[in-house]
Amino acid sequence: MSTASEFCAVSLTPEDVKKLCALARLEIGPDEIRDLSAKLSDIMRLVGELQAQDTQGVDPMAHPLERPQRLRPDAVTETNARDLYQANAPLVEQGLYLVPKVIE
């Protein structure tokens, strides 16, 4: 694990941004990358302020009201409404969503 001080000075290179865009499934034009790496570096500098805070022994917040997540009985409650939901789909055929070829 890297040390905190490394993160304080973080700055994102155009290469870093390209990698992130691939991870986030966002196509980015070559003309956008420079501006994006500058702005994301600004954001990470803002966020870097956190690294100086001592949080030893502090539990990370799980819920703002310290309440557990509610569970429901494991029972079927929804009815099938496929046609209704597929009315919003860009492309369907015989109840199936169509996408570009996945396997050659």
Binding site: M1, K39, V47, L50, M61, L84, N88, P90
Partner: protein, 489 residues
Amino acid sequence: MLKRAMHEKTLTELSDALAAKQISARELTEHYLGRIEQLDADLNAFVTVTAEQALAQANAADERRAGGTATALTGIPIAHKDIFCTTGIKTSCGSRMLDNFVSPYNASIVAKLEDAGVVMLGKTNMDEFAMGSSNETSFYGPVRNPWDLERVPGGSSGGSAAAVAAGLCGGATGTDTGGSIRQPAALTGLTGLKPTYGRASRYGMIAFASSLDQAGTLTRSAADAALLMQTMAGFDANDSTSLADPVPDYVTEIESPWEKLRIGVPENFFDDGLDAENAAAVRASLDVFEKLGATIKSVQLEHVHLSVPVYYVVAPAEASSNLSRYDGVRFGHRAEGADDLIEFYMRTRAEGFGAEVKRRILTGTYVLSAGYYDAYYLQAQKARQLIAEDFKRAFADVDLIAGPTTPTPAFPIGQKVGDPIEMYLNDIYTIGANLAGLPAMSIPCGFVSGLPVGLQLIAPHLAEGRLLKAAHHFQLHTDWHRQVPEAYA
């Protein structure tokens, strides 16, 4: 008789007028629809106007009034932020990604208000996916502030704020993830309420940052906020974070006699970033509370300066996860002509999302990526705990916390939109309540150069009644909330 124009009345006044048969829901709805048609071209507050449905709902409301089964809200015309799903009506979230999305279901709060007989006039413009503090990131263009058309109304619930402030609807719903109700309320001279996290259902409210998002109201008064929240609040089995605690009678509680309140003022809110005249207006409003018998004392929120950095880790992290659902397959925008599935996803998302949404998705992807999780996300959730503990400690000594809502009044369109950091700092005073899940309000407390500014009040968890009552009593002794922009009087 009615002195104010119909569109300057509070919901409480309109409800009384409907009950007394001084006006019908149909007349009221036609009046607002006429104003939208006449005035919204300048403001751009609405994405969709649902005139036909509104008139049908108004007719039904009049029948219900005549039949004696009306609620206080039956026939009251409001607008919903376009982040709330509405059956059979476009729900865009201010994004090209959802420009073609017609919701197959109602958000729970929409359904509850509909059941009470509310008339929906339309869906209001907003920052794309609620990411913004100026309403300039909307796919549908910026919303203009009725107090000065060259200025922003705030965001992300800027369309709701502009619509209420200009008298295009009686009240409106909004959502608040880091200040998106309170900040626009302050900049447009309205009363904005963000309840406790979990108090109003998030079901059918398009997700941005799920641990912070909360539904609330933009209205002309605290009494109006109480009236709407009375119906909106409460348990919903469809929201796993919904609170089961019973909903108190806010409407009655705010009218109960004033009790001595202890109000805490975090002195570090009055920093160099706060406009001096804005600060003076907030200080003057604390004097009003003091005259009402409140005790004002300073409180320490030691870690509150970490709010913005914590928020810009937690919110983008959750957003990057929530927005991964927009893949062009099942609903929403879809890119044409992609050869394989990865290219299809990448182009769909590149075309569907605007610049600010992309920046937040990438920030979130970065802080959650392998090797960085502990340093960023986990560290932020620990710092978030420290901020929440500060509030808890402060509330051991005081009943409410008061301070500014925003650093400045409304700023010019175009001034900050090119610099994300400057934009993010607009929410420096509001984010803390979201991180700690606390209920908070902004109420009008004065003017700076003719532009409204807000006083923020923050209460302990589930103390909406106390919050609304303090705001209501303040409004009984001031008339900042009754000011309307001249061009829309």
